[in-house]
């Protein structure tokens, strides 16, 4: 196999050519043209759902609606936060599993 190129590129002969401006308005035009042909925004989106607390890093646990309503009602009745009930539930869980 010969390592000699079958052709050579005239590096000096190919110059950068103007593509016009790229202002926000130009980009909007490009995007509109793309949208018309189904070339739409598919960039990754941020995760949906409640973000973690910036202070504690906690994310609220999601539970089924019937549990959610019961926990909320009980916390209201006792005048404590729902977190207090979760702490108590966790203590029971630890006791049950010997943690």
């Amino acid at each position: 196999m010969s390592d000699k190129p079958a052709f050579s590129v005239n590096v000096g002969g190919l110059k950068s050519r103007s593509k016009g401006t790229a202002t926000a308005r130009d980009v909007e035009k490009i995007d509109r043209a793309g949208d018309a042909h189904g070339f739409v925004d598919r960039s990754p989106k941020k995760k949906r759902g409640r973000p973690a607390s910036p202070r504690t890093g906690q994310v609220h646990a999601k539970v089924l609606p019937e549990y959610s309503e019961e926990i909320a009602a009980e916390a209201t009745r006792r005048g404590v936060t729902q977190g207090v009930l979760i702490e108590e539930a966790w203590q029971l869980y630890r006791g049950k599993h010997g943690l």
Binding site: S8, V11, K19, V40, S43
Partner: protein, 221 residues
């Protein structure tokens, strides 16, 4: 220097193989080549990590929708060919990259499905030309073709030509060496022999020459 955008909303059409073959052949012929990997699958990046890059090639990875225009413009300077490898979906990233192109190449397997979906890229180019008020040269290259041409291939090619679509000759044939680029990295000259290497080298070189001829013609015009 020219910005060559490899675009097709159809996955598996041979975009990354086309990009790597074109980049390595132009670099071998003396051009400085900057390859932008805009495909979330990172095929060009994977290729670039397999082996030391051939001389005069650099690869920039993870170029997304927000930064594509700025990145192309940053590297679109005298002295370097920019090759943009795009994702195989119809996305805003694709339409933005096309807007910065001197030449858009749409790789297409010679199947009705590839042609039907690939033509969407050609329609988009027409729309962008109108929106931007400038011509964007574009061409189709058939990929993974066989020595014996199918009736489907002939029919699709005739139909495209009737519509005034520029077809790059030669097509890129189905060759073990082309797919092996992603196994060994580097260029065709540096890998262990895969099938008939002389034929693969000739095919890749003639394809790159055909692309270069179009770029030179653009300059002359």
């Amino acid at each position: 220097m020219p910005v060559i955008v490899i675009a097709s909303p159809k996955g598996g059409a041979g975009k990354s193989t086309t990009a790597v073959l074109l980049g390595t052949e132009l670099a071998h012929a003396g051009a400085d080549v900057t390859m932008l990997d805009c495909d979330p699958n990172g095929s060009v990046t994977l290729w670039s990590e397999r082996a030391p890059l051939p001389p005069r090639i650099r690869v920039l990875s993870d170029v997304g929708e927000a930064g594509i225009i700025k990145t192309i413009r940053t590297h679109d300077t005298d002295g370097s060919v920019v090759i943009v490898d795009l994702e195989g979906v119809a996305s805003r990233l694709v339409s933005r990259a096309i807007s910065q192109a001197d030449l858009v190449i749409t790789p297409m397997r010679a199947t009705t499905l590839d042609a039907t979906i690939g033509v969407r890229a050609l329609s988009l180019i027409g729309e962008e030309e109108e929106a931007l008020g400038r011509d964007i040269r574009h061409a189709v290259v058939f990929t993974m073709t066989r020595a014996i041409r199918s009736k489907q291939h002939t029919g699709i090619e005739e139909s495209l030509k009737e519509q005034g679509v520029d077809i790059i000759e030669p097509a890129l044939m189905e060759r073990a060496a082309f797919s092996a680029l992603f196994e060994f990295g580097g260029d065709l000259r540096g890998m262990p022999a895969q099938g008939r290497m002389e034929g693969a080298l000739q095919n890749a070189s003639e394809f790159a020459q055909a692309v270069y001829a179009r770029l030179s013609a653009e300059e002359a015009a």
